[in-house]
Symmetry: C2
Amino acid sequence: MREAVLDAAIRLLDEGGANGLTMRALASSLNVTPMSLYHHVGDRAGLLRALAERVYGEVLLDASAASPDPLVQIKTLLLRYHAAVSRHPQLTLEIFSEADAFAGVVKLITDRLTMLLDRVTAEPILWRDILVDHAHGSGLALISAWGNQERAVLLQEQYQLALERLLAGLAAEEK
Amino acid sequence: MREAVLDAAIRLLDEGGANGLTMRALASSLNVTPMSLYHHVGDRAGLLRALAERVYGEVLLDASAASPDPLVQIKTLLLRYHAAVSRHPQLTLEIFSEADAFAGVVKLITDRLTMLLDRVTAEPILWRDILVDHAHGSGLALISAWGNQERAVLLQEQYQLALERLLAGLAAEEK
DNA sequence: ACCTGAACACCGTTCAAGT
DNA sequence: ACCTGAACACCGTTCAAGT
């Protein structure tokens, strides 16, 4: 039942943004009373936290990937994170507006990124913020392309290109 | 009177985010009926549009600055835009969630940026998106530092540093 | 443990009426 | 032109009551 609630919630959020995901609309889409939701996901903040864990949680799966090259692992991690952000940009927006945003899963992702960058550059923090901020900005730009599959694919390809430029700039600095 | 409404609105938005800026709270803070606001700024969407024009409008003032060097002008433009975004990150967030976001002023800013980049790189669009997306992500990160003046200043300085790295990477490519 | 209806304190916005 | 009160159709969440 909890999974069904989260499924319906992410759909409402994708389609209607923050205003589309109301407890009452969510309950109604499941043929249930609004108050019933509180037994499965808690209040609206709890619901959003659960959604964030589900969407961003996949990013860290089997992270010590094929290649031992840290630059390749950095690229893989960022491509996955960007994919998660741009798959549900409205969720990202909603998480951002919380004061203690990105507290849980995302902290794990940026920590892993920092560790990898430490092996590649003398300024791991600076580059981590450049790469993460850029991934956020690029992912959020997907909102303006919602429902436009063609443009969405184009933006995804462009992110890959942009990431290569950024990592080239990083690799060009001496360690 | 219109200016007073906008002043109060941006304050509510900064302090309480999207949920803090309600038409009723805004009216109450001005000792006025909610309906009175509709004569000055229209509905909530109109209010946000007016706020966006005011905040982002300053970015384009006297843009053909001191130096004729396009790289310097690019840097100045982005520093100003980032300053506007990070001064009111909650407004940026709210504008982002609109379908046709950044329609007005921001279009002018990115167009000017594209023109300048055209004189410096063979891939102006790619670099425009890198720089704009990064500015957005970095500016939005200010939300987590709200009320923390020390951290806010640090993030501003870090943006300047990050921008220099990015422009160095851009300049390193052959035109 | 899970679900419910009724209620409370909110929203944005429209409308008809006032000056 | 500007302001108002009342009303409508919504919100999130609490509470007391049911199974």
